[in-house]
């Protein structure tokens, strides 16, 4: 990665993971906005809730996150992705159950499952930030050196 420019990397991404590149850019925008409320702090992790029906591939998103944040204050932030299965509520038999993404029918009674309770999420759950504290900042710096 160090041998190629970010622009080249993005060009390489565009053909196979354009969706994730757009999503990564939106995450960067939202996190940067939220982190602005904590001047001097460093974002160390970003936690996402991604529904199985969101069409986001985690590996691609991780790759795009790296490309998008390279050289920015978010470069060292980990992206933690939690994939949520599709959950439907069946209006016919009343069951609430997990299903796959290949058939939208109630796993118990087979009726059409139209009421999605989970699975489309594209959400930033939280961010983890490191606040430098004047009293301990020096000690911390020594430790990491």
């Amino acid at each position: 990665m160090s041998q190629i420019t970010r622009r080249e990397a993005a060009a390489g991404v565009s053909s196979r993971a354009m969706h994730e590149l757009s999503i990564a850019a939106s995450i960067v925008e939202a996190v940067t906005e939220a982190a602005a409320g904590y001047p001097g702090a460093r974002v160390s992790a970003v936690r996402l809730r991604i529904g199985a029906l969101s069409a986001v591939i985690e590996d691609s998103l991780q790759f795009c996150w790296g490309v998008t944040t390279e050289g920015t204050p978010l470069a060292s932030a980990r992206l933690e992705v939690r994939i949520l299965p599709v959950v439907v509520h069946c209006a016919t038999c009343g069951v609430t159950a997990e299903i796959g993404v290949q058939s939208f029918h109630c796993p118990r009674c087979g009726a059409p499952a139209l009421d999605l309770r989970q699975g489309r999420e594209l959400e930033i759950e939280s961010i983890e930030i490191d606040d430098p504290e004047p009293a301990t900042a020096h000690a911390q710096e020594k430790q990491t050196l």
């Binding site: 757009s22 939208f104 029918h105 594209l122 930033i124 490191d130």
Partner: protein, 228 residues
């Protein structure tokens, strides 16, 4: 140094969702039925839309189209031959339309040379998305009806490969039905696959070349507009 967790609980595409909600309210207020057409490249969205626009105009409807494309304005020029006002949106590499692009183009679009597009002068506004079955599924454009299109040349398992898009669709259109025979298109399998991903969805089997299925499609549009 202290580490803390800040709860955000916000949608990654929150900005788009908010803009889309604003557009939807405007569309509803103006009484225009807005549709978002999504398919792979090569499905025949433009040809299908061209015929739709022409036939709607022949029925006395006021129609317009916004068409997304990566770089060219070929589609807009083709659609304009229907006589309907058409506006091209070039996304310059972005693989989907978003609500901001739609809003911006509506602001600067003049139907009669004076001011912005009068949405209330329209019965239908069609938005032809960039050819792509993945990205457009996440971006709400404020449409009331999302249409997923599939051609007989693409393979019957497309709905299973792209469940996100087909599951979010309100109507499905099969295009190029006149080529079903030569392509060995397995109609029952295709219909079953669509219904498996989106149970109960209305499916229109059409040919923009022969006109097959167009009457049913136009009747559906008229009924949807009446209901709005």
């Amino acid at each position: 140094m202290t580490t803390r967790i800040v709860e955000l609980r916000r949608g990654i595409l929150k900005k788009n969702d908010e803009l889309a909600a604003g557009l939807r309210a405007r569309f509803e207020g103006a009484g225009v039925l807005v549709l978002n057409l999504v398919s792979s490249p090569g499905t025949g969205k433009t040809t299908f839309l061209e015929r739709t626009l022409r036939e709607l105009r022949e029925r006395g409807n006021r129609v317009a189209a916004l068409v997304g494309d990566l770089e060219t304005d070929n589609d807009a020029r083709r659609l304009a031959s229907s006589g309907a006002p058409v506006r091209q949106i070039n996304t310059h590499g972005i693989c989907h339309l978003d609500a901001e692009m739609v809003g911006k183009h509506l602001e600067s679009w003049s139907l009669d040379g004076g001011g912005a597009l009068g949405l209330s002068q329209l019965d239908y506004l069609f938005i032809e998305n960039v050819g792509n079955l993945v990205c457009p599924s996440s971006y709400d454009l404020g449409e009331r009806i999302r249409v997923a299109l599939l051609s007989v040349t693409e393979g019957e398992d497309k709905p299973l490969k792209y469940p996100t898009l087909f599951n979010s669709a309100d109507a499905a259109v099969i295009t190029k039905i006149d080529l079903a025979g030569p392509c060995g298109f397995e109609r029952d399998t295709a219909l079953r696959n669509i219904q498996q991903i989106r149970p109960g969805i209305q499916i229109f089997e059409t040919s923009a070349k022969t006109g097959a299925g167009m009457a049913e499609w136009l009747d559906y549009l008229a009924a949807a507009r009446k209901a709005s």
